[in-house]
Structures are given as structure tokens and as C-alpha cells.
């Protein structure tokens, strides 16, 4: 098996004036290529904090993090944008689409920052949107779509740069059961096609679909 993610003794400390909070208190794990991993744990346990570090949106206070063969924890912050652009697809609980752009342009965004020509990225964005079942909504603004559809746009945007890992932080948290299940099926499909997926969830139904679960309590991995 090929290891995609390896992190050791990750500590994340938030300094707020005099008090400092340790959101992660030394966590270690490995994730293999093609795995579908669920991260579970009570609210405030540090799940999102870990996801942000894995997604290169934030850096650990101490500890090391390898993504494929690159040691992210030793990289300069300025390099991280390229990693986010090429290797990471991130799906948020709150969709995080740009409201004034139509959905095709939303999906094109990562391609624009990787320097792809307008014509090419249009074709690619349309293809990925078709893959998530939104071929007929290209010109719609996010506000004209349902929550489930918006989350599919977000997934399309996460996939469009063919990332190494797909991270999702409670992607069904803002959805009703039905559209939540739709979204989870998309993740299962993607996993079957070979994508490495890490998903944060409160829902034990999700963890049943996953290959394995990582449980975090109070900033530590417990199983």
C-alpha cells in the first residue's frame, strides 16, 4: 500500500492574549491511497482544526506532516497555495461558493489560479459539473440552487483540479437527510473510482460507509 498522508505528533495551539488553547495535543496517523476515512468526535474536539492542517489551510504549531513525498510542515507558507491548488480538494459544511459568480465560474476558480486558459477550463468545468449531475445548471448562481445542489457544485470545484486527497468537513451538516445521502453516495462513488477521501462527520451512518474511522476526543486520537 502507498501512504498518501502521514502526520506525527501534530500540536495546534491557539494563542488568544494570555490564555492559549491546545486544539490538538499531539496526534499521529497514516492514511493510504484510496482509503475512505471518517473522522469523528464531539464538538470542539479538534476535528476541523486537523482538517485545516491536512488541507494546508493552516499550519501545525509543532509536529510533522507529509503529503505524498513532500514535508508540508517544513514548507514556507507561500508554497502552500500551490499545494492547495494542485493536491487538495476541500468541501465545507457551508458550501463556500462565490455568490456573484455562476456555478461554472465557481468551478473554474481553481483552474484559473493554476493558470489554465479560459477555453480549456470552461470545457473541464462543464464536464465535472455534468459528472455531479448539474449539466443543465451551468449559468445559475449558487443562490438559485438547493443546498444539495450547492454542495455538488462544491464537490465539482474540489475535484476539478484532480487532487491527491479530497477533504470534507461535515459536508452534510447543512443538508436534510435525503440530499445528505445523495452527497454521501457521490463520495462513495468517488472512493470506488480511486479517490482518497477524508470526511468529518457526526453521523454514524457515514462512518459505516467508510473504510475506517479516526476518533478524536479533546485534541487526541483515541482509536
Amino acid at each position: 500500500m502507498e501512504t498518501v498522508i502521514r502526520f506525527e505528533n501534530i500540536v495546534k495551539e491557539y494563542n488568544m492574549g494570555k490564555i492559549s488553547v491546545q486544539a490538538l495535543r499531539g496526534v499521529t496517523a497514516e492514511i493510504q491511497k484510496g482509503e475512505f476515512v471518517a473522522i469523528m468526535g464531539p464538538s470542539g474536539s479538534g476535528k476541523s482544526t486537523l482538517m485545516h492542517i491536512l488541507g494546508c489551510l493552516d499550519t501545525a504549531t509543532t509536529g510533522s506532516y507529509w503529503l505524498e513525498d513532500q514535508e508540508i510542515s517544513k514548507m514556507k507558507k507561500s508554497k502552500l497555495s500551490a499545494i492547495r491548488n494542485h493536491k487538495i480538494g476541500f468541501v465545507f459544511q457551508t458550501f463556500n461558493l462565490l455568490p456573484h459568480l455562476n456555478i461554472r465560474r465557481n468551478v473554474e476558480l481553481p483552474l484559473m489560479y493554476s493558470g489554465m486558459s479560459a477555453a480549456k477550463r470552461k470545457v473541464l468545468a462543464e464536464k465535472v459539473l455534468a459528472d455531479v449531475g448539474l449539466a443543465d445548471r451551468l449559468k445559475h448562481k449558487p443562490s438559485e440552487l438547493s443546498g444539495g445542489q450547492r454542495q455538488r457544485v462544491a464537490i465539482a470545484r474540489a475535484l476539478v483540479n484532480t487532487p491527491t486527497i479530497l477533504l470534507a468537513d461535515e459536508p452534510t451538516g447543512n443538508l436534510d437527510t435525503n440530499s445528505g445521502n445523495d452527497i454521501l453516495s457521490i463520495f462513495s462513488d468517488l472512493n470506488r473510482k480511486g479517490h482518497t477521501i477524508i470526511i468529518v462527520t457526526h453521523d454514524s451512518a457515514v462512518s459505516e460507509r467508510a473504510d475506517r474511522s479516526i476518533k478524536i476526543i479533546d485534541g487526541l486520537i483515541v482509536e
Binding site: 489551510l57 493552516d58 497555495s81 465545507f92 463556500n96 462565490l98 456573484h100 489560479y113
Partner: protein, 408 residues
């Protein structure tokens, strides 16, 4: 490598349109600033041009005139006028003066048969026509010979010719002025200069067409009978030589009047320089005011852009999350600010020109705008955008992705 400039401009433009009102408020200062620069400078240029062309019409910049100094309040021991002999003496002391014309006036009726016209008649020498660059276009002007001989001749203005002679040929006819029979030897060329201020007559020079001219000797010796000459006009060889000539003349006059400051000497060149200096001062003051208002406009723009970035924190977070570099965001917001001020500058220049258009239609006033003014106005707008865009752009570029995404 950042995303292309074209991409940044597109993003900036779509932002501009999706927030039209805010964008317009942002650039109001720039619009007003560039607009008033265009309008005011065009007016200043126009007034300058107007004044200079008037001075050129009135004998050019080499002209020097001497009048009684009305502020002089002496004991009355010195004469406050010239005699003819005195003037011939002064002429000899000033060989560098190209032309030299003493002048004295009398008012009265010019009568021809049963018609008369009341106006001023000037006693002059032949140099008058060269100083004023104006002469008879029918018959001839007064000659040296007329001066020597105290000839009873007169050259009449075009209005007088029309009033007294209608369409008949006046040359060789006799008119009477203050009981003196004078032979008409010429008619002055008609003078015209459009009056751009639209008050009174539409010809600013019409008063000249009502004048007539006789030899100064005839005037002094036969018409008034008083050897009293009140004014003197000279012309230097060039405008540049005029100030020196004026200085020399001033010394001579002080000398013959024993240091009493009885006469005023005006040099057209010095007046023109004075006008230019005033215009320069005005431009400087206006320039400073413009700088201050641009500064204020810049501060307003910084504030609004900072607020915009605050509002768009989440968007910035999203862009960072999908791989935007800090430099991309820096450029995006800088370009956007510059775009906004550029559009403001263009609107300002356009409204400035519309105002000029309307104003000049009603004033019939010549307003002079140079292409350089447009380029400068727009360049300054872009410069203000650049300077006031930097701080907000840095702020946008330095946001932390996670904090930005959490922003509600």
C-alpha cells in the same frame, strides 16, 4: 506567476458592475476633482488667450505707454503734461525706440454739410500707424510733411465716414472740427474683435472706429491752441527690449521733472508677464487645492476599499482555499481600485468636457483644453488609485485562510 492581468481586470470590472452605487460613491471625489481641473484650467487658458489677443490687437507686446500718474500728489511746481518741443527732445534721447507717438485729444463735433458726429479727435504723428498697426485703407495717413507744415488735414474713422458720408467718397472733402476747416485725406481701416463676454457691443474695438486723427502740430497750434500733450506711446524693437526701454524712459522723465513721479509708464510686455505670473499663481493655488482634494478622495477610497475587503473576507478565504496566491489577491484588489479610479477619471473628464461645451455655448467664451490636460487628469486618477489601493490590497493578501473562512 499570478493570474493574468486580463483576468484581474475582468474580476475587477465585474465587481465594479455588481456594486455600481458603491463604486460611484467611491470615485465621486475623483470625478469631481478631474472635472473641476478640466473646467477651471480651460477657463484660465481661455481668459489668458483672450487677454493676450486683445493686447496683440492693441499694438503688441513691444508697446509702452506713458500717462499722467493720477496718484501723484505733488506741490504743482512741475508740469504734469508734455510740450511738443519736450517730446521731440525725448525722442532724440531714445534712438532705440522703433516708433514714438505723442498724442493729445480734443472732443467736439465733426461737421460735414448738415450732418455732424460728436467724438474724440486725436493729434498724432505718423508713427501712430506703426505702433497701433493700424492705418488708413482709403487715401493716406498723416505724414511727416503734415506735421512740419501744420497742415489742416484729417483722417476719419470708418464709423464717422459712414455717418457723415454714407456711400460717397469722403477723400478731398472738407469737414469742420471746432471751427477749423480740415481736408479729409483718408479713412481708417475698420477694426473688429469679437466680444466674447457678450456684454454691450459685439465688437470690442468699435470705439476705435469712431475716432479721427489730425497732425499733432495742427492740433496743438491751431485747434486747441494749447501746447499740452497728455500721453505718449512708444514701441520697442522687440517685446524683449521693451522693459529696458521702459526703464530708460522712466529715468529720462524723472530727470526732466526733477525726480517727481508725475508719469506712469506701462509696458505691454510687462503686463503680459504680469498676467502670465498671475495665471501661474492661480494655477499653483488651484494645483494645491487639487492635491488636497485628491488626498481626501484617496482617503475616502482607502476607507471604502478597506470596508469592501472586510465585507468580502469570506470570498478572500474561499479564493485562498482553492489555491489563490497572496499576490493574486493583492493584484486583484489593487487592479480593482485602479480600475475604479480610472473609470472615475474618465467620467470626470467626460463631464468636464460636457460642462465646457454647455458653458461655452452660453458664454460664447473660448475655453481652451489641451489633450495634455486629459492625459494628466487620467494619469493622476490612476495614480491615486494605485496609492490608495496598496494598503487595502496588502490587507486582503495577508488574511489567514481559516480566519477568513470563519468570518461571518
Amino acid at each position: 506567476m499570478a493570474i493574468s492581468l486580463k483576468e484581474s481586470i475582468q474580476v475587477g470590472l465585474s465587481d465594479f458592475w455588481s456594486r455600481k452605487i458603491r463604486s460611484l460613491v467611491t470615485v465621486l471625489g475623483i470625478v469631481l476633482g478631474t472635472m473641476s481641473v478640466i473646467v477651471v484650467l480651460a477657463m484660465v487658458n481661455g481668459i489668458n488667450q483672450q487677454t493676450l489677443s486683445w493686447m496683440m490687437e492693441r499694438g503688441g507686446l513691444a508697446k509702452i505707454t506713458v500717462h499722467r500718474n493720477w496718484e501723484y500728489d505733488g506741490d504743482g511746481n512741475e508740469r504734469d503734461y508734455f510740450t511738443l518741443k519736450e517730446l521731440f527732445h525725448i525722442r532724440e534721447l531714445l534712438p532705440e525706440a522703433q516708433f514714438f507717438n505723442p498724442e493729445t485729444n480734443d472732443w467736439g463735433r465733426i461737421t460735414y454739410k448738415d450732418k455732424f458726429y460728436r467724438n474724440r479727435v486725436q493729434g498724432v504723428v505718423p508713427d501712430y500707424q506703426y505702433i497701433e498697426e493700424w492705418t488708413a485703407d482709403r487715401g493716406r495717413f498723416i505724414s511727416e510733411f503734415d506735421i512740419d507744415q501744420n497742415n489742416d488735414v484729417i483722417v476719419i474713422g470708418s464709423t464717422i465716414k459712414n455717418e457723415l458720408f454714407a456711400n460717397n467718397d469722403p477723400i478731398g472733402e472738407f469737414v469742420t472740427f471746432n471751427n477749423r476747416r480740415l481736408k479729409v485725406i483718408g479713412v481708417m481701416k475698420h477694426r473688429y474683435l469679437k466680444n466674447n463676454f457678450n456684454v454691450g457691443n459685439d465688437n470690442s474695438l468699435d470705439y476705435l472706429n469712431r475716432r479721427s486723427f489730425v497732425p499733432i502740430s495742427t492740433m496743438v497750434n491751431k485747434i486747441t491752441g494749447k501746447d499740452v500733450i497728455n500721453s505718449l506711446t512708444l514701441k520697442a524693437k522687440s517685446p524683449e527690449a521693451a522693459p529696458d526701454l521702459a526703464d530708460k524712459l522712466e529715468n529720462i522723465l524723472l530727470n526732466i521733472r526733477h525726480g517727481e513721479n508725475i508719469f506712469n509708464i506701462e509696458s505691454a510686455q510687462e503686463e503680459a508677464q504680469e498676467i502670465e505670473r498671475n495665471a501661474q499663481t492661480f494655477r499653483m493655488v488651484f494645483f494645491l487645492i487639487s492635491i488636497i482634494s485628491l488626498l481626501v478622495a484617496g482617503i475616502v477610497i482607502i476607507n471604502i476599499m478597506l470596508a469592501t475587503i472586510q465585507e468580502r473576507t469570506r470570498e478572500i478565504g474561499i479564493r485562498l482555499a482553492v489555491g489563490a496566491r497572496r499576490f493574486d489577491l493583492f493584484i486583484q484588489f489593487l487592479v480593482q481600485t485602479i480600475l475604479v479610479t480610472f473609470i472615475g477619471g474618465v467620467i470626470g473628464v467626460a463631464t468636464g468636457f460636457s460642462i465646457l461645451n454647455i458653458v461655452s455655448r452660453y458664454l460664447e467664451f473660448q475655453l481652451i483644453a489641451y489633450p495634455g490636460m486629459v492625459i494628466a487628469a487620467i494619469a493622476v486618477s490612476v495614480g491615486v488609485g494605485f496609492l490608495s489601493g496598496i494598503i487595502p490590497a496588502i490587507k486582503a493578501a495577508n488574511l489567514n485562510p481559516v480566519t477568513a473562512l470563519r468570518y461571518e
